[in-house]
């Protein structure tokens, strides 16, 4: 007695043209990741005092490489993957094709934007890092490129909302299928969250870099950045949650328990957007009261993650028990660990538990003072985005690429080894960075050329290099498996997405249908945003654009 999370469980075939657009989003994202990972190797080895960037073509400095690493991996890859994957889950969830023009426009906007930003970064005119704090000033092509990357997400969102509207017209009184609900909620959250970054870039930085504005207000721009800079984390995470809730239970041989719980978890992410100030705990110009409010909200955002831990683990437990597992933990060993897609994503979940807990440490502002801007921070976020998200991408790719290509995965065993090796690489790497961070080892610093250093940073630095190298080798193995699957995988017929079913079907009576009304949650979120950010922005109006830039730092 279970209900599928899609509209047409019997199968709905997306037109090949749309599937191609989706496929090229994903391939573009992985191509970009390959460059980002090569840059990442230098950052890891730099902590071990090994300078490899000097042998790199084009890239001339640690900071140039670090900018490329951050922008490509955290902004371009994540956007490309979400635009492609979530378009697919929306279309499949609703059993309906998306708007052709919008789908292709999103892809081209993303590609052109990324190329513009890549030009700026590779020519050394934008070594401003992924956070690009003004008054560090980059070439205008960098800002325009990033703006286009954001615009591509809005186009994707528009395509989703149009499909939802059409679906609702054809299915009056029905609940939005869960897979589509999760997908659309992800982009609705992002539509609100991305406004800060869009205003920073389009209203202030782009005109400034073109010489139309005299200077910047660094405090204001920084706050606009972090307005988006924290919820962007959910934009990375929620596509993965779509897989963890909507697909993994099926892949593991189980079912998802509660439909409502899943919807509530996604809605909480829409509501709790205004937490970005926790990146500014040690900034001047942010009041104590605001800091405490934001700390409370940040702790609250941990709640949907705990809900996810429960729901997804329970789905896996159902799978493990169905497969003969018993006892308190025995089921865990009976889930299909030999499936590289499942294994990679379950390992990603384990990394996310550790990443989430270290995130709570950052959110506790008293503890944050010891670790702010130390290596502890990249230690934390390489467990979340660098493992929970990245390793899930890899796990998803292990069924998605065969789905696109109608070929079988090339060497399932090698793929399995790849998932485990990446996981252990990140564990060594992140543990080392966090250990160093507690000793005050800074982040974003060219340690090879630094004029200072402490003995206590030596071992953590070396282990960072060791873990990072393992991550690098494993990521290269991943690309190798992808390419081999595309060119040499055994041909097969196309299978459908591994969508799961829920035990408790969505109810069409009572309070539950209201969960599907996105407008309610958007309104509530906007009110919360105004309450938290309103006074700050009013205090910075009109902005004092008096700080001149430091061009191409």
């Amino acid at each position: 007695m279970s209900t599928p999370v899609v509209s047409e469980p019997s199968g709905f075939a997306l037109p090949q043209g749309q599937l191609n657009a989706i496929k090229w989003n994903i391939y573009f994202g992985f191509a970009v990741l390959a460059i980002g990972v090569i840059m990442g190797l230098d950052q890891a080895l730099n902590y071990a005092r090994v300078d490899v960037v000097q042998y790199y073509p084009v890239v001339k400095s640690y900071y140039q490489g670090l900018t490329i690493h951050g922008v490509l991996n955290a902004l371009v890859l994540t956007t490309a993957f979400a635009n492609g994957f979530i378009a697919l889950t929306t279309a499949r969830g609703l059993g309906r094709k998306l708007n052709d023009v919008l789908l292709h426009a999103a892809l081209w906007t993303l590609v052109i934007g990324s190329l513009l930003a890549a030009y700026a970064m590779l020519s050394g005119k934008a070594s401003v890092l992924y956070t690009f704090y003004p008054p560090l000033e980059a070439n205008w092509t960098f800002y325009l490129g990033l703006a286009l990357v954001v615009v591509s997400t809005w186009i994707t969102s528009a395509a989703q909302l149009m499909a939802l509207r059409g679906w609702r017209k054809d299915h009056p009184g029905e609940r939005v299928p869960l897979l589509a609900f999760m997908s659309i909620a992800t982009y609705v959250m992002w539509d609100i969250a991305s406004v800060g970054l869009a205003v920073e870039v389009v209203v202030f930085l782009l005109p400034w870099s073109l010489g139309l504005l005299p200077g910047v207000d660094p405090m204001l721009d920084r706050t606009l950045f972090w307005f988006t800079g924290h919820p962007i984390v959910y934009f990375w995470l929620l596509p993965i949650y779509v897989s963890w809730y909507g697909l993994i239970p099926k892949q593991a041989g189980g079912v998802l328990f509660s439909d409502s719980l899943t919807r509530v978890a996604f809605i909480l992410f829409i509501l709790l957007i205004p937490v970005g100030f926790h990146h500014q705990f040690v900034d001047p110009g942010v009041s104590q009261g605001l800091n405490f409010t934001v700390a409370v909200l940040t702790f609250a955002i941990f709640f949907p993650s705990l809900m996810t831990a429960f729901a997804v683990m329970y789905a896996l437990e159902i799978a493990g028990r169905r497969r003969g597992g018993s006892g308190l933990v025995g089921w865990f060993f009976r889930i299909p660990w030999s499936d590289p897609s499942v294994a990679a994503q379950v390992l990603a979940m384990i990394a996310f538990l550790l990443g989430g807990i270290s995130g709570l440490m950052n959110a506790s502002y008293t503890m944050n003072m010891e670790i702010h801007n130390t290596a502890f921070i990249p230690g934390h976020f390489h467990m979340t985005i660098g493992c929970a998200v990245a390793l899930s991408y890899m796990g998803i790719a292990y069924w998605l690429i065969p789905y696109f290509e109608r070929r079988e995965l090339w060497s399932s065993r090698l793929a399995l080894f790849q998932g485990f090796s990446y996981f252990f690489g990140v564990m060594i790497f992140s543990h080392a960075l966090m250990a160093g961070g507690i000793e005050g080892m800074p982040r974003r610093t060219d340690m090879v050329h630094a004029t200072y250093g402490l003995a206590a940073w030596k071992i953590p630095g070396i282990m960072t290099g060791v873990g990072g190298s393992l991550m690098f080798v494993s990521a290269m193995l991943f690309f190798f498996i992808l390419v081999m699957t595309i060119v040499a995988g055994k041909r097969t017929s196309q299978r459908d997405l591994p969508f799961t079913a829920t035990v408790q079907a969505p109810s069409t009576i009572g309070w539950q249908p209201r969960l599907d009304r996105f407008s309610y949650w958007v309104l509530a979120s906007v009110i919360l945003v105004i309450a938290v950010y309103g006074p700050f922005f009013l205090g910075h109006f009109p902005p004092r654009l008096t700080t001149p830039g430091l061009l191409y730092p």
Partner: protein, 160 residues
Amino acid sequence: MERYEKTFLAASAAVLVIFLCALGYGSVAMDIHLPSHGGMIYCGAGEKLRKVLRKTPPFDHVGVQEIAPGKYQAVVIAHTWSFTPDEIDVPVGAEVSFVATSVDVIHGFFIVGTRVNMMLIPGQVSEFSYRFAKPGEYLLICQEYCGQLHHTMSGKVVVK
């Protein structure tokens, strides 16, 4: 099974409330505060922040001063890519108030091994009080990327 669901959610909420209480205890009972806002420095159109700072107290006198018996103020200006002054001498056990700002880009002010960790933003004054319990030489570094020679931006705090 709904019972398990409810129990788990209640336990999750309880854990977060306990964490928040710990945070509140640290802030109120243990008196651990974040860097505070020491005001703003306004710079008119065409004026250079560097010049304005030279006329604005306390930045007209950088360095360490005893402002009350046993109470010190350390005034520091950050610029690409150094601190002025780059050596700060303070007595052990005394309350030292660090007052700092930046004249150009965003910098950091982090005394390694302590809680003294703040952002320095052009036009904004950062302030933080701290007591050094142990004598010794502490490393002061800029912890925010500030351009190509960011990794050379350091100083020291000598506690005697």
